[in-house]
């Protein structure tokens, strides 16, 4: 009908811990309308919550006057989410969580957000821009079946 942003939903939240649940439920609602299965919606919820927590905590340093922007972009096959903050973004590489190290106090108990995001969505990247940084997450409605991947081996 119209090529201009008709599939883009935007949410803006003050940087307060707990408000990630609003983003999580907004995204879940979008994913449900798109027809994603419930287990995939759960994956997305956790991934978006973790990205928002990082934006609130690390990006905007818990300054409630700074907003976290959540952009949800729908295509027929994908839901792409961008979580924006006003910081400089994570510096990679970030340490991969290791439960043995954590249990032996050789690694702090925290530090699982980025790992979970990467594990739960089909694509994840972190982008720094002049005005801030964003995490970009993508989930596919019809991910490549495992059989197709195995065939390539």
């Amino acid at each position: 009908m119209n090529e201009v942003v008709p599939n883009n939903i935007e949410l803006k939240l003050p940087s307060r811990l707990g408000f990630e649940k609003i983003a999580m439920n907004t995204a879940a609602s979008v994913a449900r309308i798109m027809g994603f299965p419930e287990d995939r919606i759960e994956d997305l919820k956790t991934a978006i919550a973790e990205a928002c927590i990082n934006a609130i905590e690390h990006g905007n340093k818990l300054n409630e006057a700074l907003l976290v922007g959540v952009n949800l972009n729908m295509t027929p096959d994908t839901l792409e989410v961008r979580v924006h903050d006003t910081g400089t973004g994570p510096s990679f590489p970030v340490e991969v969580p290791d439960i043995d190290k954590k249990m032996h106090e050789q690694q702090q108990p925290r530090g699982m957000g980025i790992f979970l995001i990467r594990s739960l969505v089909d694509e994840a990247e972190w982008v720094s821009t002049p005005g801030g940084s964003y995490a970009r997450l993508l989930i596919r409605l019809h991910p490549e079946p495992i059989a197709a991947i195995e065939e390539r081996d």
Partner: protein
């Protein structure tokens, strides 16, 4: 503007072998705001506590900071030689706990009876 936050109830029961088990039933959210509910409750347990059963079945929202608190509790319990069993996580959070590796240190059971049985198995 008050969220429901984390609720925790403590119960003492006996396992099949007549040894006591302390049950911690969490409800609501487990997040960075749950320090007192998770670690404070744990630290308040009797020094004699040997078995801890965690009931996650009423937990509505769990994030990585909340999981970090669970790991901290596991570290402390490990040091004291306490055994932790847990149940009631949704399939999604069973998956998340497995991804993070928690399942290598504490088994996630399907229900309360199975979790309780695991202390005496």
């Amino acid at each position: 503007m008050a969220d429901k936050g984390t609720q925790v109830k403590m119960e003492e029961i006996n396992a099949a072998d007549a040894q006591p088990v302390t049950i911690l039933r969490f409800a609501g959210d487990i997040t960075s705001a749950s320090q007192a509910a998770v670690l404070g409750t744990y630290q308040g347990l009797a020094e004699t506590t040997r078995r801890i059963l965690i009931d996650f079945s009423k937990v509505e929202y769990l994030n990585s900071s909340g999981i970090a608190l669970v790991i901290q509790m596991m570290i402390a319990a490990n040091k004291k030689g306490q055994v932790i069993q847990s149940f009631g996580l949704t399939p999604h959070f069973q998956k998340v706990f497995t991804m993070v590796g928690i399942t290598r240190y504490s088994k996630l059971h399907a229900d309360e009876a199975t979790a309780l049985g695991a202390f005496t198995a």
